[in-house]
Symmetry: D3
Subunit: 331 residues, 6 copies
């Protein structure tokens, strides 16, 4: 079974029109759009056809990160928009419960504590809509202001509290970028590196031993820069090596290069890596070398010769099942 | 001939998707969307059908104001978006040159002088696309910061310079509103009042005697609050009465109440009022009293008994022809 | 009986000197000025003579709004100044208890919650000085910063709590304006429009059903722009028409144009309009047409032919008596 | 002859009312007040009577510093107010040309370069109104923001350029204080210390060898803290001792303590000290010890036994005549 | 016995390297430096040799103020640095308990309330390290932002609470200065003047009658400007003269001029002045006049003829013993 | 010959004391420290001994990046400090001209254009001190504010102008970090990724075809995340593949992991990689696996079996000689 744990919803035109409304009127008197069943069915079909084309059995879908508008003021804009996206996901999942699972977007905004708005929406998504995980954006300012404290800071504890109570993993995934020098796709990578270092340098996992964190896109720069952090750790006198510390985290394979995937698997260990492609997304372009899309990652994993059959099963399915405990309860 | 001088474009889904792109990636590497001819034709037909339903012969169409995103940073977002909207308008006009005229949106942003970006786009629209006027947003911060100087300030002279050189009128019309206490539709009204007082309290019309300004929505609060400004003017010792000063400006009829239209016509004078409805827009809802849409304004004007036939012709057609000199050159 | 519910105090030179002191030393060691009885008597006489000249029997006097200095930092400046003004009003009322009533200025400042300073002064004025109402400035920043939340926001609940407990109405009336593009007299108008829309778009009157609000100057732009809000309301699907919603508010006649007063009476209804002139004030200039001052409003009301005798009595006296329950207790 | 080189104007009530106007409407449409001759005569008489009571022959009068409103925004407020104060001074001087000289207030504002507004008003005052000097406020933000560069910085060169071209001295004298912890009267002192250190630590006097600076109130803290600056100077390896450097500056005697005046005279030298009392002002209170007002300084100087007759003449008259070259041209 | 109550620690090179670390990595993972005993002994010897050269028996040593980095963000930088400095002082005192006493630096930062970080470090220093007093910096922003409330404000009460509970005096002494116009050595002086006026103008000593405050450097400008404050006090109607009020405070002799010291002793009274030299420090330069260092203050005090033997003993020893109750407990 | 192109100077205690001075007095009167020859010799010896221990023949030394204090205000602090560091480097190089080359630190500060201060110091270092390259910090705010434009922006052209005129390469290397969530060592990595994407997405190399850029630490995250950028590039329709574009840049081997170095060499190509170790630095800790320090990189390169002898020579020597044209002129 092939589970793609990292994919984002495709939206019907009605959603874009609603988004325009929200940006235009800044969530000042506004009505949620009614998306007809047909339109939902159409985007669901689009997603299914993409999945079928690359052999994915189940996809975990979340809001498209760079459209989350976490930094558009006032906060009610992202609040209404997030709810809209999550509701759309729920309808898609309801149409094909055997092919999709919902992963919640959170209405994060700038420097606001996650204790109110974010926790409420997470609960709603998990308890009412049956979602199995959530996205965490380490910088809801989207680069428009200085960022809030790192993910290792108590600032984030209300969210971790809720995540562990509900037993849902969080996928570290930043959103848009207001910075002219740092496109959103690059910000994804940098935020992931910051997230890893902030979390491992803190007492977060002592406080929340059951907290489940997946770092998207193969962990930003960290696996590639391991030497630097290994040495830093030795110099600090850490009792546990940096390689060991890294085992607290999970990573996904959403990194479109075989060499890099191999590096990731060596550094993080096979049991800590879950299959994820973000397809359709940035990687949906034809690689002139392979002749396949960059985000068609299944053959890439399969071509890594030193992986055993069990290793592949772990990556494609078992690690994900273990991590997302709510995703396959019915099975 | 019925000329509706104040209407906004309807956009195809492709535009909304492009808008979402721009907001998401903040104009950081981006490609302009290719809108198929068919989609353009579809929105043009939609507009025509609305016009036909209320007897409008010609409509002046501009970007939809509350979607102009003048305050979304960085400025390149609104620059690309404005260009997109103006290009769309040009294609619609090209399809039905006898039914539409283009009125340009301007890529205004926050406190930036209009001398570069704004003037360049205005020139492009008039000289290359054949547009006949432009929108002016007195507060491109959209309430997210303190506003730039009032329209009577030299800050705006580069724009007036270009407008008079090209001989195109400007329609005072604010854009979105980031303020939770002031919806965009109310901000329209307040900005118009501010614009009138700022312009009349300055030497703008001495410097630019040929400047043509139309204040949308019946002039905000000014006609209703004339007593206050008349007295203020007397106290200041103005040599020209406030009623006389008001004659430097034009107003449109986009105010959905017969009593108010009558007040406007009395105060501003028939020759200074042009027909405009913003249809389809805020007023596109059925008035339970009249049984017609609020923005179906033609019967309203026609029902004002004290207007002569010439008065009506002036309002519906002649004032507009005189004002928008480029609009009917071919005739 | 003619009750002018909207008038502002005239101040003796001692007050201006004290104001200069406060601005100069920013309320840093300072002593309240002792105004001699004679000086108080002189300004009282001045007010009386104005009232007599236009046939006003009773005037409700409050601090002169544009001199309230709500945005001058630190907040203690406006605190001391407001107290001074209210004390002066109390002394004038005490001299002529049958001709005056006190309406309290509030020491509002920038984004400070009204829960402390403002509520305390309101209580002092009503309970100790016998005042019958208060002024509410929706934007104590006076345009020097972005405004606080709209009047419909819970931010203002502590004030409404105190107002309803004391049963005193609040007159919506902004103060000065730091903006070069928006004179204070125009800001009055815009703030009133914002106040109306913010209040009606909120649950304020459900939470405070006995809250009494008077919107000054004929309600800003709202009566003139009713069509826009009627349509907006229909589009939102409001169960109650906008015209009906407007009935929750009262308005005063402080709008120096007969046409506008008629429009106001039609839209708001005779029972919701109270007589008010702001005399002496902005309208105190000779109208060359009528030969009377613009703010000599009694003849204007009397000249509206379609008003019945009872209508006039309502406007001049009865509505005000009903609204300001504390004003005529002794009668 | 006793010349009091440091005194401030007394203002009629009309001025305070105008000030209130300016603060209220923030210099947004406004008319200059017409002060009747009688009122000017009255304040002139008040000043003369004070002078006569302590034996002053000639007084140099400038605007009252703490009322200069240098930090009230927008800058046009202080511009209009400064002009008003200077005009008032000119009228007083014109009434009694043998008893008064005018010292100009400057329309300084926050971080604005003195190159435009300030220089223009200085020229107007000297060339048109016959003034003989000016006040310099080192911190026009009045503590409401971080201060502009120190007086030794090129920021101030346009002012020094104009002062030396016109040959008028500048009296270092700060204005109001917005800081709750630093009253304006204390800020005077601190700003003087900062001015001395900034000027002496710069190349100002090399660039403007004819620049004339008087430091008010006995030079702030500097004479008392000489040891600290002497040592600092030695450590820096200065070629000229700090005591020598100090000779570039003048000081006035506006320090109400005999011990301190003696310290000042020893440190600064008799030739660098001019008589000044700021009377009427902060020192106008009865000293229970001497039985005279604190600011009745003539007897204090006279009681310093080690001063020669020439020394006293220098302090009371000759130093001032030499410094203020325009003050006694006619003699 | 000669007790120098005002001196600052000399630091070994290891400390400077640690400081560089902290500034470079902003207290982001960091380890406290291990300073070898030998290095501590070396700086202790250096201090002793200075003391012996001028006849000081006991020195009270605190962190060097201008190196406290109170405004370097984040606050953890100054927190770690302050702890480091205090620990160093403790080791020096431990080496020579009969020659040194520790005075604590406090980890003040910008506008942070002293209730947490500051109070904790003060307690640690007094209770665990045996310190006898502390430094108080009235402006931890070091001029990089607008300052926190004055020392008379309740903002500081948590610190006073802890100081009185522990019975330790506070030496008013500012730190660095980020302002180009105000060097740190001048800011010392100005902050002391502000501290005196803020404290005496408040109810601090009524709330904390046992609070012990020493104002460094002879009290800034206050003794020299007494006349101004005497008169101000009379005008305010104070019941207690300003001279009397001043008796609530103590001052030290760290002012390198005999005339000034005499002025201080006259104004503050012999019993309120303690010996202090800040040696080695700013005053450690050879005075060409006396041939001694400016900060060799013992001969200066001894040369004041009008002081009695008891006066000298008070200044050199007894006042200090009385004030610093914890300093000589063992005796 | 082994050339280590990336190393930082070791500083004597005098430098740290001078740094403390500069931070304390914020470059407000200050004197450059005189470092005795002996101290310089000592740090040179320390560096030589490190080099010898790992077989390095020549080291390129620059200021230690995280101590550059680019964000400490005012800018003069970093200006004086940078000059001090560069002067120190020049003296070390002068002692051992065959073992060292100087690489200049630049006095970058916050958002200041490099056109003045930075270019002047670069010229001084190259023309007067004989330096062969420079460091470029893409974010001189060090995370304390929003960053300046990306390296592809015209903001940086004055620097590129000077670099190409002098023919010196720039090593992309950020400085400190004020962010609690992003340690300076991690910021190095993220800034390098941002630099690569900003430069390649701009027209910089068209404008400056001879510009030489070396990206430190193996290029941040880019080689590891190549798939993402390859696909992005295809989607944008780039004519040149992302792999080709990358060839405009050079990278160094300062990445302490053999797998990563191999990945780098494959992606960037052997000819675009220069040897660099940053030794002594973050990597100077014993790797328990290899038994050598992490930054002892020579054996690592030598152990990559698929590299030819010429490849190794290129990496160790030839690429560097070609790039740094001024470094071996004498040979």
């Amino acid at each position: 079974m092939i589970i793609d744990s990292h994919a984002h919803v495709v939206m019907p035109p009605h959603s874009f029109r609603f988004m325009a409304e929200l940006v235009g009127n800044r969530a000042n008197p506004s009505v949620a759009p009614k998306i007809p069943d047909e339109a939902v069915r159409k985007v669901a079909d689009e997603l299914l056809s993409t999945m079928d084309s690359v052999g994915t059995d189940v996809q975990f879908i979340s809001p498209r990160p760079y459209l989350q508008m976490h930094s558009v003021k006032p906060a009610r804009v992202t609040e209404l928009w997030t709810r809209h996206c999550n509701d759309l996901i729920a309808r898609i999942v309801a149409l094909h419960p055997d092919r999709f699972r919902g992963v919640a977007g959170l209405p994060q905004c700038l420097h606001e504590s996650p204790s109110v708005r974010v926790v409420a929406e997470l609960k709603r998504c998990v308890e009412e809509l049956g979602f199995v995980g959530c996205l965490i954006n380490p910088d809801p300012t989207e680069g428009s202001e200085l960022p809030p404290p790192g993910l290792g800071d108590p600032f984030w504890h209300p969210l971790y509290e809720a995540m562990t109570a509900l037993d849902v993993p969080g996928l570290i995934h930043s959103a848009g970028s207001c910075s002219a020098r740092e496109s959103y796709t690059l910000k994804f990578i940098n935020e992931e590196s910051i997230a890893v270092v902030s979390l491992l340098g803190s007492d977060t996992f002592e406080k929340y031993p059951n907290l489940k964190i997946v770092v998207a896109h193969g962990g930003g720069a960290i696996p590639y820069q391991m030497g630097r952090f290994r040495s830093w750790s030795v110099r600090k006198g850490d009792k546990v090596t940096f390689d060991e510390q890294l085992k607290k985290l999970h990573f996904d394979t959403c990194n479109y290069s075989k060499d890099s995937i191999e590096l990731l698997l060596k550094v993080a260990g096979v049991r800590n890596v879950v299959f994820g492609t973000e397809k359709p997304g940035t990687g949906s372009a034809r690689d002139p070398v392979s002749g396949r899309d960059y985000d068609d990652m299944k053959p890439v994993i399969e071509s890594i010769e030193w992986l055993s059959a069990q290793d592949r099963a772990d990556i494609f399915e078992c690690n994900c099942r273990r991590l997302y405990s709510r995703a396959f309860k019915r099975d």
